[in-house]
Amino acid sequence: MRERRPVRCAILLLSPGVVWILFALVLPSVFLIAFAFATVGPYGLPHWPPSVSAIKRLAGFGMLGWSPDNLIILGRSAVEAGLATLAVIGIAYPVAGFVGLCSSRWRLPLVFLLIAPSWTNQVVRAIAWMNLLAPHTPLSTLASSLGFISQSVGLVPSRFAVFVGLVYNFLPFMVLPLIVAFGRVDRAQIRAARDLYAGPIRVFSHAVWPQTRSGVLIGTILVAIPAFGMYTVPRLLGGGQSMMIGEFIAAQFAGGADWPLGAAAALSLMALTMIGVAILRRLAVESADDLRVLL
């Protein structure tokens, strides 16, 4: 009796987590996989027996021969997410470097200013960008006077607007891990590099970058993957002309309902995400301990 108590206790303590994982993760995934291998029936609902028709249609082998439309959406999502991530790194790295190396008195207010915008709902922020990039606003006028767009069109909707929206939306997710990384930089290593005849550029490449690389990798996981499947920003700022995979999936479950196709797309999105994480993990193996904890 006494020996069984710890086991019971452990089961009791673990059960909320197990139940949650079962209903919120395992069960939906089983449904998703099942739907992805079903046939499309009336009203777009899944029908049995199982088949690979949804996967084939996703790849473009439908009734009307091969068309790469769906794959283009997938590729566009990857390119859009990749470009946005690069831009986010480019903006966040110097910002985080400044904040992270600031004295602790200034760090908290600066972090507050950086994350305050993300307390507004992302839909609201996307709509704000719609207004900022609309025709006859200062930014649109500037773009048309520089000859990038014709007058009266405005910068939205466009792939550029999606890009801006993604960068703006995901900036905090890169800045925060980078501030942590910069805050933990061992300054003695910077001094050691200077003491050992390194100039500013080599102080950065040998003493600063190796200590902050893991922050960039964590930020990339937090930015690139959600950006890849992002729904609201491309929906509101892309205007349906440059559909991304998140919009595509949503469309299969709503408007032109086709649940098996949506499930197949969601499944391939998951697979691609896992491949992405695996690549980042490999990059991280030789890097700092904190990242290994995360992955």
């Binding site: 001094r191 590099a193 200077r194 050992l196 003493a207």
Partner: protein, 347 residues
């Protein structure tokens, strides 16, 4: 090869207003092991960073071999530093860490390899050259940091509390080794520490710092036997610092608990080091014998550490453990105060 280093009226005030150095004058003779002792926050590390060129003095000059190098950047001074936390580059292996300075100076690869291997052989870490920094013990890291600095053949080697992260046994072993290295290479070595025993044991000469100022520069013996201030006497842990209340005829000095005879000079305090006082059960004979009660007797191996009370004054006596009787607490004994070896200290 070895250079002498000088600080001339160096002030350093940080951006937040902290005054780290306040008119510091320092002369480190070439080819010596010079220790800088002080409590944490006294500015000793800042002084080191200013010699290295990693920090700029607010005013004053840094001289190396009599030449003003105040405005010479760190990478153009033949000075290298071993940092307190070692500051090794975690993403490089041991060999790349040691060779870093040579690589930055554009030395050719085969030459770097030879120099690194020679230095690793000299410090007996050859077997570690391919290891990653994360795999090393504290003592090994210490050696790698030393090798990384020494391989550049500096004229002056600065060490910022290099042993403070190590356990006692390793500390002693590495301190001895460091002294050997200094003698073998004949370079100037400035060693910063907050450990009194370490500073005295290692230093040919030493300086003691307090709140941004140098209190005294002398040989360890000079500082031990004649500390310049009462603070220094207390900081060195010398014990038995008794305030002088007045002077009488024939060299009488009045203290709170007794009168001493035969002290020649003047000062604010009498310093009598605990190992100089002799204890006996015989009754007082001489004029400077006082009776005292043993409060505590701590057995410390080679010596017995006694705490006594003498007319309300506390007294500490360190008696050699000569294998004879140890006075038990409560015993009344006679303490012989050797005035001829007492020092008079100014506040």
């Amino acid at each position: 090869m070895a250079s002498n280093v000088g600080l001339r009226a160096v002030d350093k005030t940080f951006a937040d207003g902290t005054r780290a150095l306040d008119g510091v004058d320092l002369d480190v003779p070439g080819g010596q092991l010079f220790t800088v002792l002080g409590p944490s926050g006294c500015g000793k590390s800042t002084a080191l960073a200013i010699i290295a060129g990693l920090d700029q003095p607010t005013s004053g000059h840094v001289e190396i071999d009599g030449r003003d190098v105040t405005n010479l950047p760190a990478h153009r001074r033949q000075v290298n530093t071993v940092f307190q936390s070692y500051a090794l580059f975690e993403h490089m292996n041991v060999a790349d860490n040691i060779g870093f300075g040579l690589r930055m100076r554009g030395v050719k690869k085969p030459e770097i390899r030879r120099a690194v291997e020679d230095m690793a052989g000299f410090l007996r870490i050859r077997a570690l050259l391919r290891s990653r920094i994360g795999q090393l013990s504290g003592g090994e890291r210490q050696r790698v940091a030393l090798a990384r600095a020494l391989v550049n053949a500096p004229r002056v080697l600065l060490l910022d509390e290099p042993l403070s992260a190590l356990d006692a046994e390793l500390r002693t072993a590495l301190a001895d080794e460091l002294a050997d290295v200094q003698r073998a290479l004949g370079i100037t070595l400035v060693f910063v520490t907050h450990d009194q025993a370490e500073a005295m044991k290692l230093g040919d000469r030493m300086a003691v710092m307090q709140t941004g100022r140098i209190v005294q520069t002398d040989t360890p013996r000079g500082i031990y036997e004649k500390p310049a201030t009462a603070w220094l006497a207390r900081f060195m842990g010398l014990g038995n610092l008794w305030p002088i209340r007045g002077y009488g005829a024939d060299g009488r000095v009045y203290l709170d608990f007794t009168t001493l005879f035969g002290l020649e000079a003047e000062g604010d305090y009498v310093l009598v080091r605990p190992e100089m006082i002799a204890l006996t059960t015989a009754p007082p004979r001489g004029p400077n014998d006082v009776t005292a009660d043993i409060v505590q007797a701590v057995f410390a191996g080679p010596s017995i550490d006694y705490r006594l009370h003498c007319n309300g004054q506390r007294m500490r006596v360190l008696a050699p453990n000569d294998g004879r009787m140890i006075h038990a607490p409560g015993t009344c004994v006679t303490a012989r105060i050797p005035v001829e070896r007492a020092a008079l200290i100014n506040a």
